[in-house]
């Protein structure tokens, strides 16, 4: 039995390692590790980053993207049968007959609803359908901020260049342009909504730099930027009484006999009923897929982030981009167990904390790009120089007490108040002891391909936010995801409203699901899985192994 006796929040064997960290602290601060050469970076990425390693991805065998490389966990679901049997659904009885179905009650979906309303779609002809509560979304969790080039020293063209270079030049240029050019408009809209941005006394925004940006353009709302922005947007939607159906995820899209997307089938998680929702236009705003734990990574994502939108869109023939990449953030928490996967901000390294291994030795320049930094943490652990926690999670130390030694006592407490509070709950004082970190799955870089009007290749289906691909190419820069959901959520609302005016919906059908299942049979793919998965499975092994499906 592992001893549970904790001293200052850590078990004894971890404290032994911390002793070594403390002994070598001064020496480590005096002799920092140098940044890697481009060649060294390439080598470590190829060997230790899941985006480059062999075995993490494979070719998809069916559908419009047949032959494309995707993460195994996604291929598993795309090569599974639909969770919905069309024979269980009576399409002759329509439960909701509306103009605009918005799938997802996070940032992109809510923004889309507001701009659809502004563009003339009546409130009672809009329906937001969401898996959890309105606002339960990654958009709510973003701490850092939102990028917009509005200072005289900056320009939307420089912002574009950062987005495009940061995405490894794989972004769709028209989408990167929209992101950069619409950004100041979005900040202005937020001002009008009442978002409390951090400002200087003269009213100008406090703007910080971020990894991969050439100008300081990160607008923030303290440590709660995502929450402050979304709660304003949501409050506006609530004041307008835009209808929201909560705990009713859409499990498949509906089509009509003209090949248009024409709504979706919602599943009430509490009564197990389905609802037929007929809509002239549908906006997919289902967010990311962190809860699929691709490559077995822990995640920063919210409970509902299971990539449903990718699966449903693929079933109707939409194509996917750049899903052979994921963004792992180097400093997810590895200890204690309750916060595994939660983010510890990049700022900790920014302020001077150095990552060190179990022996207290530094092994990487602290401010390499995210992917390189993450890969070097993984290497250190695979080499056996990491710490393994009592619950089996590997990690390396991030020597946070260095910050006060560099900038003076009290710096950690004031500049990293949120982080200090988080660890304090578990009896750990990060101003005195290092914290344990390991890369965590943070963002779905790619997704359903859209154009600058947020149209997918299937008529009637629009998409916005993390579910889409092309905006960030193969890597998203910090501060661009909050911007993304605003820019493209807005566009989705506006362009879907235009589309609604001219479209005529034909006879409803779910034939595409039968066709998809047939395709699986023809390709001789046999899977025991079904998709989309809707919610992750975290029940204890013991409880699960004895579960009966009789009630």
């Amino acid at each position: 039995m592992i001893s549970l006796k904790l001293i200052d929040g850590y078990p004894e064997y971890m404290l032994k390692s911390i002793k070594l960290v403390e002994e070598k602290r001064e020496k480590n601060m005096a002799s920092p590790v140098k940044p890697m050469s481009l060649k060294e970076r390439e080598e470590i990425l190829n060997n230790y980053h899941p985006d480059y390693m062999k075995g993490t991805r494979r070719e998809l065998r069916i559908g419009v993207d047949k032959g494309k490389l995707l993460y195994n966990g996604l291929v598993d679901l795309l090569e599974a049968k639909s969770v919905l049997d069309p024979r269980d659904v009576d399409l002759s009885r329509v439960d909701y007959d509306i103009d605009l179905l918005i799938i997802g009650g996070g940032g992109a979906g809510t923004v889309a609803s507001l701009f659809a309303y502004e563009s003339g779609v009546p409130v009672d002809k809009i329906l937001i359908v969401t898996k959890l509560r309105h606002g339960d979304a990654n958009s709510m969790m973003a701490q850092g901020g939102i990028q917009a080039a509005d200072r005289p020293e900056d320009s939307p063209a420089l912002h574009y260049l950062d987005i495009y270079g940061g995405g490894h030049f794989a972004n769709k240029p028209e989408l990167a342009r929209a992101l950069a050019l619409d950004a100041p408009k979005i900040i202005n809209w937020h001002q009008e909504l009442g978002v409390m941005y951090d400002r200087q006394e003269d009213g100008e925004f406090q703007e910080l730099s971020g990894g991969g940006t050439c100008r300081n353009r990160m607008h923030s709302c303290k440590d709660y930027s995502g929450m402050e922005i979304l709660r304003n947007i949501r409050d506006r939607a609530r004041n307008l009484e835009i209808p929201v159906l909560e705990f009713c995820p859409i499990v498949e899209l509906l089509m009509d006999d003209k090949g248009q997307v024409a709504g979706g089938i919602a599943f009430n998680l509490e009564t197990y009923e389905y609802y037929v929702i007929r809509a002239k236009a549908t906006i997919l705003a289902t967010g990311g897929s962190g809860r699929l734990h691709l490559s077995n990574y822990p995640t920063t994502n919210h409970y509902g982030a299971t990539g449903d939108g990718l699966i449903m869109a693929y079933h109707v023939g939409a194509n996917l981009l750049d899903l052979d990449t994921i963004q792992i953030h180097p400093t997810g928490d590895a200890y204690p167990e309750p916060i595994v996967g939660i983010l510890s901000t990049e700022k900790i390294r920014g302020l001077g904390a150095i990552p060190v291994n179990a022996n207290g030795d530094p092994f990487v320049f602290p401010l390499e790009p995210r992917d390189v930094e993450a890969a070097s943490f993984i290497r250190e652990c695979k080499m056996g120089r990491g710490i393994v926690t009592p619950t089996g999670m590997p990690g390396v130390w991030l020597d946070s007490p260095m910050i006060d030694l560099i900038h003076g006592k009290g710096t950690i407490a004031t500049k990293l108040a949120g982080e200090v509070r988080k660890f304090k709950r578990f009896g750990i004082d990060m101003t005195k002891y290092p914290i344990l970190v390991y890369p965590t799955l943070h963002y779905q870089n790619g997704g359903v391909e859209i154009n600058e009007k947020t149209e997918t290749r299937v008529p009637g289906l629009f998409a916005a936010g993390e579910v889409t691909g092309g905006v960030h190419g193969r890597n998203r820069l910090m501060g661009n995801s909050l911007l993304d959901y605003n820019v493209f959520g807005r566009r989705a609302g506006i362009y879907a409203a235009k589309y609604i005016k001219k479209v005529k919906i034909g006879k409803l059908t779910l034939n595409h699901l039968d066709k998809y299942n047939k395709m699986l049979d023809q390709a001789n793919i046999k899977s025991t899985k079904t998709a989309p998965v809707i919610l992750p499975e975290y029940r204890g092994e013991m409880a699960l192994s004895r579960a009966l499906d009789i009630f």
Partner: protein, 254 residues
């Protein structure tokens, strides 16, 4: 490092829950029913370990969304505890419950038609005047916000202060559920923050100028040029761009 160790670590990354069985177990009472769960789990993970699969009462799992605010009690103790299920670690003999929903009414208003006067909040949420200063709201806040204090600010008409004190509110609703005066604190402070953000905080002149430039299409050609560049040239342009500030204190982000 030996190959064997390497495999071991990889296995550990993939499979974490197994080792939990080796740690010591606590008895908890979920909705009154006894279960054994490993020590060290949060309330949320303890419920899952016991076999619960969440639909309600589980959101971001990281302390931001307010979906999992809950109450608990330790056996033989009188007092109720308040916390977020995703943050609070279980203790032995703890009584656990889920709070699926807060039925607190939100006022509807059009912010564009409001003015940030001393009586704005009182007019929209008149019940705040019934506050009896019992401080139960503050005691039930999992974010340690001085809830009663910001309600007092709202009563006084100090919108800016009310907004500032309430800023870290995750809108979980525990305050409203406990209030003997039926105040909807978290809705009240939402209004205060929006009034402040829209009407009280000074505005950015740089932003206004930039909006005008974009309107006049000042940057369209610059971006078009970048889009048309061949790959080698854009890579070179990107690599040679001047980085403004790399001072550590300036580093923001997630």
């Amino acid at each position: 490092m030996s190959k064997k160790n390497q495999i071991l670590v990889e296995k550990m990354i993939a499979k974490k829950s197994k080792s939990a069985e080796k740690t010591s177990m606590y008895e908890v009472f979920i909705m009154g029913k006894s279960y054994k769960v490993p020590a060290g789990l949060t309330i949320m993970k303890a419920l899952e370990y016991a076999g619960y699969r969440f639909i309600r009462g589980c959101g971001c799992r990281a302390g931001f969304c307010g979906a999992c605010s809950t109450v608990y009690r330790i056996e033989d103790e009188q007092k109720l505890g308040f916390d977020l299920a995703c943050q609070k670690v279980v203790e032995d003999k703890m009584y656990l419950v889920q709070l699926p929903f807060v039925p607190a009414a939100k006022a509807e208003y059009d912010l564009n038609k409001l003015k940030p006067t001393e009586s704005t909040i009182l007019t929209i949420y008149p019940e705040i005047a019934r506050c009896v200063s019992c401080n139960t709201c503050t005691k039930s806040c999992p974010q340690d916000i001085e809830v009663m204090k910001y309600i007092q600010m709202a009563i006084r008409g100090d919108i800016a202060k009310c907004a500032e004190i309430s800023f870290d509110c995750i809108q979980c609703g525990l305050c409203a559920m406990r209030c003997p005066a039926d105040i909807k604190h978290y809705h009240v402070s939402q209004l205060a923050r929006r009034l402040r953000g829209k009407y009280i905080d000074p505005k950015s002149k740089n932003l206004a100028k930039r909006l005008k430039e974009i309107e006049e299409k000042k940057y369209d050609n610059d971006i078009e040029e970048l889009i048309k560049m061949d790959k080698d040239k854009i890579i070179e342009t990107y690599k040679s761009r001047k980085i403004e500030a790399e001072a550590a204190e300036d580093l923001g982000g997630d």
